[in-house]
């Protein structure tokens, strides 16, 4: 396999280059089949005469409660969004819990209530589940796995495959980036930044449905771990096309910008949980922008970049002062700088 490590490092789970190598070099090597090899957020399956999307995701977030949400809300949004960006209408989800002995019942209740509330909001039913309790110290408080299935309309089944990307296509995001990662980091570490940054954690299926019903989308994906940078790099990898992002158009709230400046992070690498990246022709892009801006979850949408002929396979950011830099996938974990 590509990865030369003999043990799993934390970076293997960070959504960046190391995880990519692990998936390519180990999982795909052994699991390979036509459906999995598509490597989309959800598998598209033919069942009888209809097509369904199927996906799964595990949630191990620490802390369990953070500004803007908790692990329960996140567990629904994550799976719903994976289905939605695959062009599917999410219908049913499962919820499995691995709970550490001694976990407060009161906290579990709050989390379960959030799961139920978010499922209702997203219009999905929780139809099956599993419960395991492990000895104290054998897992960290609570881990949740959700899986989901959704119905795929024929006309939407290509949106996760990026089949027709062309020079001049625009890249749109439905609002500010980096909010989730920075909100969680601020809640977890002892920075005590006085900031109002909240996770953007939200189910996007209704927003995405509006977009798909009224316009033509070439590709969409939710930029979770590894951030916007990782999704865009995966998009142009192995293609004779590049992407140019314009820094002045990137929506980043000042709290996130300030935390990133202080810690040496790049907002493009920070996780989001209520964002979708959409690629469309310029004409459709403007229409999509209008649709997004009319929705509560897309008020601050922006066209952040374009597909270009230059630097094939690479994502390049142009800043306001004329500088240009390569935006790589995240390598391992982001590390704060020290001086």
């Amino acid at each position: 396999m590509k990865n030369r490590e003999d043990k799993i490092l934390l970076g293997h789970g960070s959504g960046g280059r190391m995880m990519h190598d692990l998936i390519e070099g180990l999982f795909l090597k052994h699991f390979s089949n036509n459906i999995l090899n598509e490597q989309t957020d959800a598998a598209i399956l033919n069942v009888g005469s209809s097509e369904i999307a199927f996906t799964t995701d595990s949630f191990v977030i620490d802390p369990l409660f953070f500004p803007g949400g908790n692990i329960g809300k996140l567990a629904v949004c994550g799976t719903v969004n994976d289905l939605a960006v695959s062009g599917a209408e999410p219908l049913y989800i499962s919820v499995s819990m691995i709970i550490e002995e001694g976990f407060p019942m009161k906290d579990l209740e709050i989390i379960v209530e959030s799961l139920a509330a978010e499922a209702k909001k997203a219009g999905v039913l929780i139809v099956t589940g599993d419960t395991k309790v492990v000895n104290k110290g054998k897992c960290d408080k609570l881990f949740i796995n959700t899986a989901g299935i959704g119905r795929v309309r024929k006309e939407d089944r290509q949106v996760s495959k990026a089949l027709d990307i062309q020079v001049g296509d625009v890249i749109i995001v439905n609002g500010t980036i980096g909010d989730h990662g920075m909100a969680v980091m601020n809640a977890r570490e002892s920075f005590n930044f006085k900031t109002t940054v909240e996770s953007d954690c939200a189910s996007l299926n209704q927003l995405i449905r509006e977009v798909l019903d009224q316009s033509s989308v070439k590709f969409m994906r939710d930029p979770t771990r590894g951030g916007v940078a990782t999704v865009l790099n995966e998009l142009v990898e192995k293609r004779q096309l590049g992407i140019e992002i314009d820094e002045s158009n990137l929506p980043v709230i000042s709290g996130v910008k300030a935390m990133c400046e202080l810690l040496g992070f790049d907002p493009l690498h920070i996780a989001n949980e209520g964002k979708v990246l959409i690629v469309a022709s310029e004409k459709d892009g403007n229409k999509i922008l209008e649709i997004l801006k009319n929705n509560e979850l897309g008020r601050q949408s922006a066209i952040i970049g374009r597909v270009v002929n230059d630097h094939p396979g690479k994502v390049v950011l142009k800043n306001e002062t004329g500088g240009r830099r390569i935006v790589d996938s995240l390598s391992g974990d982001q590390l704060p700088r020290i001086c």
């Binding site: 790589d328 590390l335 020290i338």
Partner: protein, 359 residues
Amino acid sequence: MKYVDEYRKKDLILSVSEKLKSISKKEIVLMEVCGGHTMAIHRFGLHSLLPSNIKLISGPGCPVCVSSQHFIDTAMAYSKVPGVIITTYGDLIRVPGSTTSLEKERANGSDVRIIYSVLDALEIAKKNPEKSVVFLGIGFETTAPLTAAAILQAKKENIPNFYVLSAHKVMPPVMKALVNEGVKIDGFIAPGHVSAITGTAIYDDLATVCGLGVVVSGFEPVDMMQSVLMLTEQLESGTPKVEVQYQRVVQHDGNKIAQQILEEVFELRDDQWRGLGTIPESGLRIRENLSAFDAEKHFKVEVPESTEPKGCICGQILRGLKTPVDCRLFARKCTPSDPVGACMVSGEGTCATYYKYRT
């Protein structure tokens, strides 16, 4: 964002660029000592705004990059001692030692924790009285006062299980060493945060004895361009001196309280620098009366002889003699996700910066 946006204004940057082009005649080489400066230059594309006769070279001012292989290997040896918790600023955990890295040792079961302030290490020590907490102290006059303050705090609160492995260094000796070695430098862009602590007198020798220009600079593009302009004016008029561009932060005398704390806790020692060898009186050792907090005095570990990675030219890059693109490992065998040398690990390392901005 206040205090940032106004120093990134394109018009201002371009007007300084125009002025530079109008006054610059001589071929000059300026060294930006600090990794933060290297990053800013590349991030904002400042090379393209300078006249072709002004060359900027990167210097040895990234703490992670200049920490010696022996220091990394010692930290690794401590991490294997039962009951030890290693606390460190993030970048260091990925620096390859002679045989392994702290990141890999953590996967092997060592307790290695990333912290954001040395005071977090003190808290960890208080919460884990049965463990020994070692803080890996790296950085220049910028981070050293914080380490010093933590040691004084540990003494005051009587925290017996807190130790520091000090690789702290001071800036002026290495700058002089480069000049004495014959590296062609006409002036230094000096790190503003160092002088915020030390003041500016530390560079007087470089101007008066060595005849070099020194401008203490901030880290935003307008700061950097203005600093290059100030150095160019000095060098064109033949009047090298120490000047402060970063006046919103740096005062001539620096921060007296921080200086006193530094003096109270540390003394100078000869110290090893990656790729530069041992430089006299360039490192900070914990004073004898505080040796209870000195990891080197407390732990007796076998540290195998350190080996520098084969083919890596970090040393020459840190001396400004080569650039990363001269290295045959660069962007091939050595990348941020799989670094061979320390300069590829730190976000402010010269190699990592060149890698990121290699358009």
